[in-house]
């Protein structure tokens, strides 16, 4: 009788261990699988963001908020109106209009002096949209044009600049 009870207890213990082992195996497999899938999804999301940034940076210079239109003679592509961009920088309504990307324009071979209404045009970096996205940047070379007063005459002044759009990690 004692022998039989011991054997039954052993059997129940075996079953319990087996159940725990099987459950653990499935949990571990599930965790690995989820981790693998999540990293895949993150990669897909990052690749979408990168594509978006690449295409956004190529079209942004010709968008109504940035483009020179006919303000500097004939219509031209990849020409950014610096005066308009400064006006845009100070328009709070545009926060978030281009998603979470940071957008900035840097004059080539210049300093890090950020433009404000007070120091414009003696500055080199215009930060237009300060989104929540840090990480990598994609850029596109543009002509950055503005109206300047030279010896009492209004002239068009154009410089080479780089239009940058960020993508990737969200900071907040």
């Amino acid at each position: 009788m004692v022998k039989k009870s011991k054997r039954s207890q052993m059997k129940i213990q075996q079953t319990a261990f087996m159940l725990i082992a099987v459950t653990l195996l499935f949990v571990l497999a599930g965790v690995f699988f989820l981790g693998f899938k999540l990293s895949g999804l993150k990669k897909q999301a990052l690749s979408l963001e990168e594509n978006n940034a690449l295409l956004l940076v190529s079209k942004l210079a010709n968008s109504p908020e940035f483009s020179c239109e006919n303000a500097f003679g004939t219509k031209r592509t990849n020409c950014v109106d610096e005066d308009k961009v400064m006006a845009l920088k100070n328009n709070e309504g545009y926060a978030g209009f281009w998603g979470k990307s940071n957008i900035e324009i840097r004059k080539i071979g210049s300093s890090e002096k950020e433009c404000t209404i007070a120091n414009y045009p003696d500055c080199d970096v215009i930060k237009i949209a300060d989104g929540k996205q840090g990480g990598a940047y994609v850029g596109n070379f543009v002509a950055l044009c503005r109206k300047a007063n030279v010896n009492g005459y209004i002239e068009d002044k154009c410089e080479v600049a780089k239009l940058l759009v960020s993508y990737g990690v969200q900071n907040g």
Partner: protein, 313 residues
Amino acid sequence: MTKIGKQGFLEMSFSWMFALIVGAFILFLAIFFIVKFVNTEQTSSDVQASKSLGIITNPLETLSGESKVTLLALNSQTKIYDSCQGSGEFGEQLVRVNQQALGKYSDSALESSFENKYFFSESIIEDKNFYLFSKPFEFPFKVADLIYIIPQTKIYCFVKPPKDISDEINNLGIKSIINVSKQADCGQNSIDVCFEENCGINVNYNLGYVQKGSDRLYFEGLDKGNALMYGAIFSEKSFYECQVKRLMKKTEKLAEVYESKKGIVQPNGCDSNVNFDSLKSSISSYKDSSDLTPMIFSVNEIKKNNVGVCRLW
């Protein structure tokens, strides 16, 4: 002897029962997770497709007076749900995509939203390939690019369109839009759009409206308002009105930007005669597309004053 036999039978039975219960449990879990996984994959694929729709339309950015077209070819039969949300600073373009897998459409309800996109289409369109055709909306400065989404298998038959419209359609080479001289030349399943005769969709080009049954959708703008005219032809009234409202919001914001620009260039001795007050006041009282026609006077006035070295755009 009988006792031993019974015990043996019971032992076998317990193992079998254990195997059956655990096996059934494992099978149930496997099937449950596979179904969940397939649904999640479909939702992820749908969301990716709707996000991609926003991304691939980026190169459709046009210059003034220009039109662009591209063919969006998808892997499977797809339903695109296009909707518009008019509240907020710029309103939002909402897009939901459901793709077909194993003969059945996915049921994901996740939408992608874009503040800087203006799509015009019927609220639900279904096909494997879609034409994306874009035109700039100018009022009087360029406000945005309007993107029209047309299923490749759907045929719009334009009956006696004005020359500039027929030339544009011919140059773009969109097979879903055909130009004919009389309605009888349209196919049986086509959507007829008449510019002089009377049919399903009637366009009064001179007075600037599109009549669809009892609904009248007004269009206006530079270039005779052609950009909005296409929008009115390809979309339903409520959707069209919401998108035009969003465009008016953007026009107001851009007017603010140009006003600030005016202030920025003025210290350089660059004065502009453009005055946006009348346009801004018309936009603030804007209700629907019938308000566009009276606004064209201020639009033309602004355009007329934007001249010289210090022109704003």
